[in-house]
């Protein structure tokens, strides 16, 4: 009988709880110094932070003439909380997502906005099994450079997927539950529990103090995965086409994990750092939840667990009540304001509230050392929405903020207005260039943009 009697993690780690930010990780860096030393220059990271239901464009940024100008000294209300970081981000105007438009399909702008935002593809209108969008830019990056890190990418969110068949018009809920798509028919689910994210990054380590036993268990784990892979391949041979495709998802996932296990084992000989572990579940306070997730994003980049992260502050069509912003009506309901000043005021408050939370990420990234510069210096972080005017469901002139210098390749502190109808995908392929990922096109891209 296995007699390992280590103390449960609970009494080892301190559980100071969800509202406490993760402490700054200098204490942790030594544990992962090995991985860090291998890197020659700091790699470029990429993150997308998404807000749903559009933004009150008048209070976001005033587009100028086509071209590039310095950011104004006075920010409109929604952007105002980010003013302190004005020399580390730029506003990009004039980008559009054609995939979000109806093109003859029925109502469902929210589903389309979410599904097209990072894929620049027009999703198929269906509530059933045959969902189809495109491959999202974060997954393109993950497929190319993901093998360098333990997680090819992380998909995070603050809101769990909605139940029910259709979420918007005749579109499946799968379209609005995530913005990240591994293949045109495989949406990537989000992790919404901070504790679960923490566990994925730090909790998977076998806590058995006996290294020999740990090693044996690692061998067994490998044998188990080999066995189930073999079972799945044999099984596939006797199934029809649709079932085979289901098993393909299974096979892909198992193989993906096998690769990651190898990676994790390279870091496995160190004891898990003495970090505060978030409590189970999701914090009551939205502010606490969002900030905790941003802390985890920072940690993930800093420890090079991944270089690609997407984060949805809320789901498309999200109907959350943001009490902490002083608004007691649900979000989406408000956005169809049709000119009502009271509603517009409340939406503006919500939009600004979201930006306030985002500045927490800017703050962490810009104060985290990353070799020769800060994390933010070496990243590209996009904050934006797939809908501009939430009342009219516009998919052009999308509000887009790009923070970080991508290792010096991007100049910040500017407002660039692109010619009308510039595809968002052009921004994405440019960003991929900066990651060292060479693709010709993505979605409906027609070229690059200057940043």
């Amino acid at each position: 009988m296995n007699s390992s009697r280590h103390l449960p993690r609970r009494s080892v780690l301190k559980g100071l709880g969800a509202t406490l930010a993760l402490p700054f990780l200098d204490a942790m860096v030594p544990a992962f110094a090995r991985a860090a030393q291998v890197r020659a220059a700091s790699p470029t990271r990429m993150a997308f932070v998404y807000v749903p239901n559009g933004i009150v464009m008048d209070e976001w940024a005033v587009p100028g003439l086509d071209g590039t100008f310095p950011l104004p000294t006075d920010f409109p209300r929604i952007l105002q909380p980010a003013a302190a970081y004005r020399d580390q981000f730029s506003i990009l105007s004039g980008l559009m997502q054609d995939g979000g438009r109806a093109h003859g399909d029925g109502p469902g702008d929210h589903a389309r906005a979410g599904a097209s935002y990072l894929t620049s593809a027009h999703p198929k209108e269906t509530a059933g099994a045959d969902i189809q969008a495109g491959v999202s830019v974060d997954q393109v990056a993950a497929q190319h450079i993901g093998h360098h890190t333990r997680f090819p990418s992380l998909e995070l969110g603050c809101e769990e997927g909605l139940y029910g068949g259709n979420c918007d018009g005749r579109y499946s809920c799968a379209y609005s539950n995530t913005i990240s798509w591994r293949t045109p028919s495989a949406p990537m689910p989000q992790e919404t529990s901070p504790r679960a994210v923490f566990e994925r990054m730090f909790g998977g380590t076998d806590l058995d103090p006996d290294p020999a036993r740990r090693a044996r268990r690692a061998t067994y784990n490998q044998s188990v995965l080999d066995l189930v892979l073999e079972q799945a391949k044999t099984l596939q041979g006797s199934l029809g086409a649709t079932d085979r495709r289901k098993l393909d998802e299974y096979l892909f996932s198992v193989r993906d994990i096998e690769k990651r296990i190898v990676k994790a084992e390279q870091d496995a000989d160190v004891a898990p750092p003495d970090l505060t572990r978030p409590r189970p579940g999701v914090p009551q306070s939205f502010i606490a939840h969002a900030q905790l997730m941003f802390d985890l994003m920072t940690v993930a980049f800093q420890t090079d667990m991944t270089r690609v992260i997407t984060f949805m502050i809320a789901l498309e069509l999200g109907n959350k009540v943001y009490e902490e912003a002083g608004v007691s009506e649900a979000h989406h309901g408000l956005t169809h304001h049709r000119g009502d000043a009271g509603k517009i005021e409340k939406i503006t408050r919500i939009n600004r509230f979201h930006v306030e939370q985002f500045t927490h990420l800017l703050e962490r990234l810009s104060t985290t050392n990353d070799g020769d510069g800060t994390l933010l210096d070496h990243s590209m972080v996009v904050y934006g929405a797939g809908i501009s005017d939430g009342n009219r469901h516009h998919h052009h002139d999308l509000p887009t903020l790009l923070a970080g210098r991508a290792g010096g390749r991007i100049t910040q502190g500017r407002h660039t207005s692109y010619p009308a109808e510039t595809p968002m995908a052009n921004l994405f392929v440019t960003m991929l260039d900066h990651m060292g990922v060479e693709v010709e096109t993505l979605g409906d891209s027609t070229g690059r943009v200057t940043l």
Binding site: T126, Y220, I257, G333
Partner: protein, 817 residues
């Protein structure tokens, strides 16, 4: 073909949204159906349908105008009829409902409309009947979260709910068990692997015992004002204005545990009455004993009660005012508890009988009396014996360390056949015994080897997916019966959301499960089994969209007496009601208006119903005037409202979609919004919504949707009864498009009850969708029609619905791809 009152709702249209329930408000005229019989479809078209289209429809629906993207011109010559069966159904339905031609345009005579309907029915039935029997096929379904949790518990006896950590399951066609939609992502696989490691360890060895007992949980209610910063270190529970602390805890070991709770008592002394003399300042100080006595007498003694799984484990009397009880400290009880999940509750029971829970609130937002926290410390005196799950796995019954050679084969065979839900062959057994051997060769124990085998089984595609095979000898079009084992899985996951039990396996092994009497008896047995609560917890909650109740937050300024506990009570009422309908095998139609429900004191107060007291739920007879059936239960009324007000449109849509199977389409873009500020102040909500009627193109849909919502207007956004909305008296009358009028929810329910076929058909469709794990297609129409007819013949008993679903072609058979 049987004479029935309603044309079948076209099932392919489940994916389109139909404008109206099939034949909902039929006018007379179906006797004309007979005259269309026997004529070839084209001839009937030329005689009845074509002329009607030409006279009444083509003026808008032509190639030039293409109104609503539809032109009838290409069909007038009789071409292309066959390919558009769905279109003709829709045409017939809109004609019969009086929606088309729109009001104000010339209308065809009723019998002409009936001819079109008859033709459309014959026509589409003709196309359906010409096909081979088509039971469809279901894609290999992976276990969803609920099924995974239940299956692991049944398979291994391991408690806890590991799948709660998995990403949320995607839904299709309204349910989260749809094979096509459920996918496997790398994130999910990661969680499955972690879970498999954890579960296998717990199952074989039990959760690792700590060296010393420690604090397993520190439970507090969220938003506890008194908590200061300590809420950060607490495991939070729902908030109860009445001060209760309740939840459920997973006890990892069979052992003794200490449950420690502290109560808060902030009752104040009654203020000195007006005119009463003050104590003179120079009077001698009150002796401490007398002072305490004065405090103690100043408020009546009340009980505080603590229960685990409904059994009282501690009870005390709390006397006196402010801090007198608080200084008492913790109430500590040491209990022997079996490993597993257990419900606990600590509360002041008398508070349940206060009508308005705000009486238990102080002006600063603190509750007057409440349970501060509950700590669970343990384990004490834990048994060193292997966990209960050990015996599930080590069926050879040897002591640890005493296993012999044949054990491996026996254990693995038993494990695999139950996990894969079918007999296993020597090769499959060998794969798993190979893992045991590998562990033993590496120097680990036999038990560790078995643990690895359990881990492998939990990750196997044979476990995670419900696979249904097509015999290789068949040609592509031959439908065939499922094997008995496949049938057993379908049955158990349908009725229990769990794996088959030994009796089902036994019958499947013997090849007897498919026999009609056996199958019938098994269904009845399974319905009577406690596991059939899955029909309420998973099927009904999704059907009625009750999972949204967690997300619905009534505005606290407008509905200050609605807290987490009341919302939980609302849900419990509906769950208990549904459970009673199923358990008592009542008619389906009782769901609409059965004159009883289940209430506890607080919920009864919310409804304004007197005579129901206490925290516990009890069955309550209703006279039906205000409340009866599902439709006037708070859970449903709340889920179909906004946080700040009711919405007749949302409620009408809820009824159409969930009870009648006719979801209205989404509104077009660009409609002006409701003037929220004016609602209930300058103008009543109803008056505002009349704008829907004024505009003919809005009226097409809203004449259907709004009246149902109006009929429910006397129930506010949290289901409470009201007679006024602001200063306006509520008008809860409604007129349906066919002219039927009603006033109030009772008459509305009467109308719904009279639509028994539409109601039954909708429920049959939903149930079959859930049972199969796929959306329904046009070839399922015959199966649904049969079910509806048989259920009606059986007085609509719930068990008859389940039996006929199980006995249907799509459930018993499948078609190869």
């Amino acid at each position: 073909m049987e004479e029935r009152n309603s044309p079948a709702t076209l099932l392919a249209g489940m994916r389109l949204t139909l404008l109206i329930a099939a034949g909902l408000w039929l006018s007379a005229g179906l006797s004309n159906q007979a005259s269309a019989q026997g004529e070839p479809p084209d001839a009937a078209f030329a005689e009845h349908v074509g002329p009607l289209l030409a006279d009444y429809c083509v003026s808008c629906h032509n190639d030039a105008l293409l109104t609503a993207d539809l032109s009838f011109e290409p069909f007038l010559a009789g071409d292309g009829l066959l390919e558009n069966a769905e279109l003709w159904q829709r045409v017939a339905e809109r004609l019969q409902a009086g929606q088309m031609p729109p009001r104000g345009r010339p209308q065809p005579a009723d019998d002409a409309k009936a001819q079109v309907a008859a033709w459309a029915n014959r026509f589409s039935d003709g196309t359906a009947a010409s096909d081979e029997p088509n039971p469809g096929r279901v894609t290999a379904r992976r276990l969803n979260r609920t099924e995974y949790n239940n299956t692991v518990r049944s398979l291994l006896g391991v408690h806890g709910r590991p799948a709660d950590e998995f990403p949320a399951d995607d839904s299709g066609y309204g349910f989260d068990n749809n094979g096509d939609v459920l996918s496997v992502s790398p994130l999910l696989m990661e969680k499955l692997i972690t879970a498999a490691q954890q579960i296998s360890r717990d199952a074989v060895f039990g959760p690792t015992l700590p060296d010393e007992p420690f604090q397993l949980a520190h439970y507090m209610a969220r938003r506890s004002h008194d908590a200061d910063g300590s809420l950060d270190s607490a495991d939070t529970l729902p908030y109860s204005m009445r001060g209760a602390l309740y939840g459920s805890h997973l006890f990892p070991w069979t052992a003794e545990y200490e449950l420690r709770f502290r109560v808060a008592n902030y009752r104040q002394r009654a203020p000195r009455p007006e005119g009463a003399p003050r104590r003179p300042r120079d009077a001698p100080p009150i002796p401490p004993g007398d002072f305490l006595e004065e405090m103690r007498l100043a408020a009546p003694p009340v009980p505080v009660v603590a229960t685990l799984d409904g059994q009282v484990f501690d009870r005390a009397i709390i006397e006196g005012v402010n801090a007198f009880g608080y200084e008492r400290g913790e109430f500590v009880t040491r209990l022997a508890v079996e490993a597993g999940e257990h419900d606990f509750r600590v509360s002041y029971p008398h508070i349940a009988d206060i009508v308005d829970p705000r009486e238990n609130m102080l002006p600063d937002g603190r509750r007057v009396m409440y349970i501060d926290y509950l700590d669970i410390i343990g384990p004490f005196a834990a048994s060193p014996a292997p966990p209960a799950s050990y015996d599930e796995i080590f069926i050879c019954r040897h002591e640890p360390g005493g296993h012999n050679e044949s054990c491996a084969g026996d254990i693995v065979t038993n494990l695999a056949r139950r996990a894969y839900r079918r007999p296993v062959d020597a090769h499959e057994v060998g794969q798993l015994t190979g893992l045991i051997a590998q562990a033993q060769e590496a120097g680990d124990s036999f038990e560790e080897g078995v643990r690895v085998a359990v881990q492998a089984v939990l990750l196997s595609p044979h476990f995670l997916f419900r696979i249904e095979r097509d015999p290789v000898t068949l040609s592509n079009d031959d439908a065939h019966l499922l094997t008995d084992h496949e049938l057993a899985s379908r049955l158990s996951y349908f009725l229990w959301a769990d794996m088959p039990d030994e009796e089902l396996f036994r019958l499947a092994d013997a090849g007897r499960l498919g026999r009609p009497q056996v199958l019938d008896a098994q269904v009845r047995r399974m319905l009577a089994d406690p596991r059939s609560t899955a029909l309420v917890d998973t099927f009904a909650e999704q059907w009625l969209q009750l999972r949204n109740l967690d997300r619905t937050k009534p505005d606290p300024t407008l509905f200050p007496a609605v807290d987490d506990e009341l919302r939980a009570a609302m849900r419990r009422e509906t769950d208990l009601f549904l459970g009673a309908v199923i358990r008592e095998d009542r008619s389906l139609l009782d769901l609409i208006d059965a004159p009883f429900t289940f209430l506890n004191g607080p919920l009864a107060h919310h409804y304004g119903i007197t005579g129901v007291t206490g925290e516990a739920f009890q069955r309550v007879p209703l006279d039906g005037t205000q409340r009866s059936g599902l439709l006037t239960q708070a859970s449903i009324l709340t889920v179909s409202s906004y946080p700040t007000r009711t919405s007749p449109v949302l409620r009408g849509k809820w009824v159409l979609q969930n009870l009648l199977g006719a979801p209205p389409p989404d509104p077009p873009a660009g409609i002006p919004p409701l003037d929220e500020a004016a609602v209930g102040t300058s103008v009543s909500l109803r008056t505002q919504l009349e704008a829907h009627r004024a505009n003919a193109s809005c009226a097409v849909c809203h004449d259907q949707i709004d009246p149902m919502g109006f009929g429910l207007e006397r129930y506010d956004a949290t289901g409470g009864w009201r007679t006024h909305d602001g200063p306006f008296e509520i008008d809860d009358s409604g007129t349906l498009p066919d002219g039927t009028t009603f006033r109030g929810s009772l008459e509305l329910k009467g109308i719904l009850r009279s639509e028994s076929d539409a109601f039954t058909q909708n429920l049959a469709e939903k149930l079959l969708t859930y049972a199969l794990g796929r959306g329904l297609e046009s070839y399922d129409t015959t199966a649904i029609d049969t079910i509806v007819q048989r259920v009606a013949d059986a007085d609509h008993r719930f068990s008859s619905l389940v039996l006929w679903v199980v006995d249907s072609q799509p459930f018993r058979m499948r078609r190869p791809e």
